[in-house]
Symmetry: C2
Subunit: 134 residues, 2 copies
DNA sequence: CTTTCTTTTTAGAATGATTATAAACTATAT
DNA sequence: ATATAGTTTATAATCATTCTAAAAAGAAAG
């Protein structure tokens, strides 16, 4: 199933812009974290290609998030990171270098929450581990 | 040790504005979460009092954070919450009501991070538990 | 209690990421 | 081909936050 089919399966028309954004985001060996404003820059740095507008990139990123192809992270209140790693995982945030590093769920001992909230059910448990130079 | 002394101990002059902000933030039974813009409103809703400027509230909140009297939270990339609870604790975020609820550290089974980063040391481990209506 | 020095406050302007607008365009179905 | 619903776009608008530089107010010393 190629990008066009996946988009259609999510009710999204496979437009030129969306396909280019898919390539940039998902045609990689490793998942990565990004800011939308940086993605806009990356997409538009090749002068030969037609520019994709800022609004389209924002719209698309939100559409992809809604369809479950991207995760929005809560790492730093001043920077709105998105993640192409949609598996259940956690993060290291290196305060010395401001770098964000994945922490797989199997690298964390099972977390048990002893407190429950009446009428509520847990939808996710995310850990943020802040590190700094020794 | 009153607020004025605490401020002086942190190298901050106990000005009228800072003392009023201290009262509003810390003269309570329970700790709470807030947005700076809401704090500005709360401080200035009593018409009889002299208004405290937006800049001062922001400056003060950052000064208090730097001195360790406030924590800045990473809950929602669109809302910059501060917390008067400076103890080691975690949070529930209720996606149904957008409410933020404390989760004490002793209500979570000890978290063991199996992955280590060379040359780095862990400075904090924070858990965000998202919940929704059953 | 005045002078001096430094810190703090302030109104208002500036910033910067993000969202809204509404017109032009395009994919898709008929 | 045509219709129509979904998309893209440039641009303006938003909004929390930060910046600026001048005025005000603590603190320390005489």
């Amino acid at each position: 199933m190629d990008f066009a089919d996946k988009l259609r399966a999510s009710g999204l028309r496979p437009t030129k812009q969306r396909l280019r954004i898919c390539k940039t985001l998902f045609d990689r060996d490793k998942t990565f974290h990004f800011l939308v404003k940086d993605l806009v820059e990356t997409l538009n740095e090749k002068t030969e290609d037609q520019k994709i507008s800022v609004a389209t990139v924002y719209n698309t990123v939100h559409a992809f998030k809604k369809s479950g192809y991207l995760k929005q992270l809560n790492i730093d209140p001043n920077h709105n990171y998105f993640d192409t790693n949609i598996s259940h995982h956690h993060h290291f945030f290196d305060e010395s270098t401001k770098e964000l590093i994945d922490l797989n769920n199997d690298q964390v001992e099972k977390i048990e929450i002893k407190k429950t909230l009446p009428g509520k059910t847990i939808s996710s448990v995310e850990i943020l581990v802040k590190v700094e130079n020794k």
